[in-house]
């Protein structure tokens, strides 16, 4: 059923990601880990066409962009990972004519059933975030599953029961958790760091949040660093005189 579940109930789980734009270094490890995991799991395969040729094209569920932001002393480059935001008001779900696209009531994850998707691509038109990628060879739409085949997988070690992208991030810029729980670590992180929604004006109410880059001006110490001690005449010790002699001779 492509009508959306009611997510306003208190205690409603909203699993999602919090992405720290301050610490992301743009290494693409999350994108590669995502591709590696999902090409053998739920969505297998994530097709690549002409992978070693001149004009490759393939399905990835996570893309890392690079942007320049600001001017003057506050200007900076920002690495910007982009994947499905598992919106509460997910138009990609409601436009689906077959019910293949759905949002789970239990945890809010948005999924595509690859067995009933007809490949009409309308969900990708309805997504403002460009999060869905059509698999031209499979003829169905593919998207981030928040690694449902990892996060509930009892066969994995507890520390591995999180999305592949989060597990792979070397700087800890990606956080996974329940954003419906106000006391969860991710919710606290969002309130402490001023986490924000992408394009809130469109009303999709994304679950994933982005943490803004910290201001470099604020982060910089206000006191100038203490000056280094000047190199003056030495203490006249034997060792120092020896090295002074060596210095002159050389």
């Amino acid at each position: 059923m492509t009508t959306l579940p009611d997510t306003t109930a208190p205690g409603q789980a909203k699993l999602g990601l919090v992405i720290d734009l301050d610490t992301c270094v743009g290494c693409q490890a999350c994108a590669v880990a995502c591709k590696e995991w999902n090409t053998q799991g739920y969505h297998a395969p994530l097709t690549d066409e002409d992978p070693y040729g001149a004009d490759p094209i393939g399905v990835w569920l996570n893309r890392v962009h690079g942007y320049e932001s600001g001017e003057g002393p506050t200007a900076r480059t920002v690495h910007f990972p982009r994947s499905c935001l598992h919106c509460e008001n997910a138009a990609c779900v409601t436009v689906c004519p077959t019910g293949a696209s759905y949002k789970r009531e239990s945890d809010g994850i948005v999924l595509v059933n690859p067995d009933t998707c007809i490949g009409c691509k309308l969900c990708s038109w309805a997504c403002p975030y460009g999060a869905r990628e059509y698999d031209y060879r499979d003829g169905v739409m593919k998207k981030c599953t928040l690694c449902i085949d990892r996060i509930y997988n009892q066969h994995l070690e507890p520390e591995d029961r999180q999305p592949a992208c989060v597990r792979a991030c070397p700087t800890g810029a990606r956080h996974f958790g329940d954003l419906g729980d106000r006391d969860s670590a991710v919710s606290r992180l969002v309130s402490e760091r001023g986490g924000y929604d992408l394009l809130p004006e469109l009303g999709y109410r994304p679950v994933n949040k982005y943490l803004p880059p910290r201001s470099m001006i604020e982060a910089a110490p206000t006191e100038p660093p203490p000056a280094l001690a000047p190199i003056g005449p030495g203490d006249g010790s034997l060792v120092e005189n020896f090295f002074a002699w060596v210095d002159r001779v050389l």
């Binding site: 932001s69 409601t94 038109w125 997504c127 460009g130 469109l202």
Partner: protein, 313 residues
């Protein structure tokens, strides 16, 4: 947006088919049985044929056409699903109306009820088609109040031009039909000019800064990937925009020529010259509609192109 040829063929041909069926249905509702079996059969065959070819063309857009039957299940939330349901349901009043209309002995009241039902269902199906686009918040050029009237009037214009082309050789009601065709064609051209004026003068108020939430000015300095991907191909189509101005003029000129070519039928009410002109009028209308639909896609800018470096949409 990348122009999907199968979808363009679908909305053009099915729109023409529903316009033709609706006008035939209204003619039957007001005038009773078809003037001749051959004329009525030709109109119904052409109307249902265009609708069916259009629906089959839309299947080529699907990655899994064999699963298309599933698309009628989600009518509660999806305009595409509603469109599919309405397209299938409309076959029923079309068959009933055709059966009654072609039989000279049918009671006029039955034809009237079936005709009004068919005209209403045709209109609702075209409304569903238009709403697939007009309901998407992600594409400013589609989420316009004028999209719905444009689809409806274009369907009437293409249907009227086709009905005129079929009716003029029979010399039956050609003058009235030509009048409807001329009015619908001029209304279609005027609505499209209004629509283009509206989308040109609306500010592009979503920026790359808003999409990323970063302090302005924001610009892309590094692409996420060196090769193309689905989002760039599907949402980031730029080819058509370069020729948009010229193509818009061609659409208006074609619709205008179609209106002029309907004038002989309006003035003479029949004859070989008027019949040839009416056929050419229908051809010009269909050609103009195809280009208009292509532009509808090519000029549409998707919000997600902001993440790929568009400054604003």
């Amino acid at each position: 947006m990348h122009p999907a040829y199968s979808v363009i063929m679908f909305s053009t041909l099915s729109g023409a088919g529903y316009g033709l069926l609706a006008l035939a249905a209204l003619a039957g509702a007001s005038h009773g049985p078809a003037s001749s079996f051959a004329f009525g059969a030709l109109v119904m065959t052409m109307g249902l044929g265009l609708v069916t070819i259009g629906l089959l063309a839309s299947m080529f857009h699907l990655g899994h056409p064999e699963r298309a039957w599933r698309a009628i299940s989600q009518w509660r939330s999806s305009w595409l699903s509603r469109e599919g349901v309405m397209a299938l349901v409309t076959y029923v009043p079309a068959m009933v109306f055709g059966w009654l209309w072609l039989d000279p002995a049918s009671p006029p009241l039955a034809i009237r009820i079936a005709g009004l039902m068919l005209a209403l269902m045709c209109a609702l199906t075209v409304v569903c088609t238009a709403m697939i686009y007009a309901a998407l918040p992600t594409i400013r050029q589609w989420r316009q109040p004028l999209v719905l009237p444009v689809y409806l009037v274009m369907a009437v214009a293409t249907g009227a031009a086709l009905l005129l082309a079929i009716a003029t050789p029979y010399g039956r009601g050609a003058a009235v039909l030509a009048g409807i065709a001329v009015l619908a064609l001029l209304a279609a051209a005027a609505l499209k000019l209004w629509y283009w004026h509206a989308i040109d003068n609306q500010p592009r108020d979503l920026t790359i800064g808003m999409a990323t939430g970063l302090p302005e000015p924001v610009r892309q300095w590094e692409q996420a990937h060196t090769a193309r991907n689905f989002v760039m191909q599907e949402m980031g189509y730029h080819v058509g925009r370069r020729h948009a101005r010229r193509l818009r003029r061609i659409v208006v000129v074609l619709l205008g020529c179609a209106a002029i070519l309907a004038l002989p039928a309006l003035i003479l009410g029949g004859g070989i010259g008027a019949a040839v002109a009416a056929v050419l009028s229908a051809v010009a209308t269909l050609a103009g509609t195809l280009i208009e639909r292509w532009l509808f896609f090519a000029e549409a800018e998707h919000v997600s192109s902001l993440y790929y470096g568009s400054a604003r949409v």
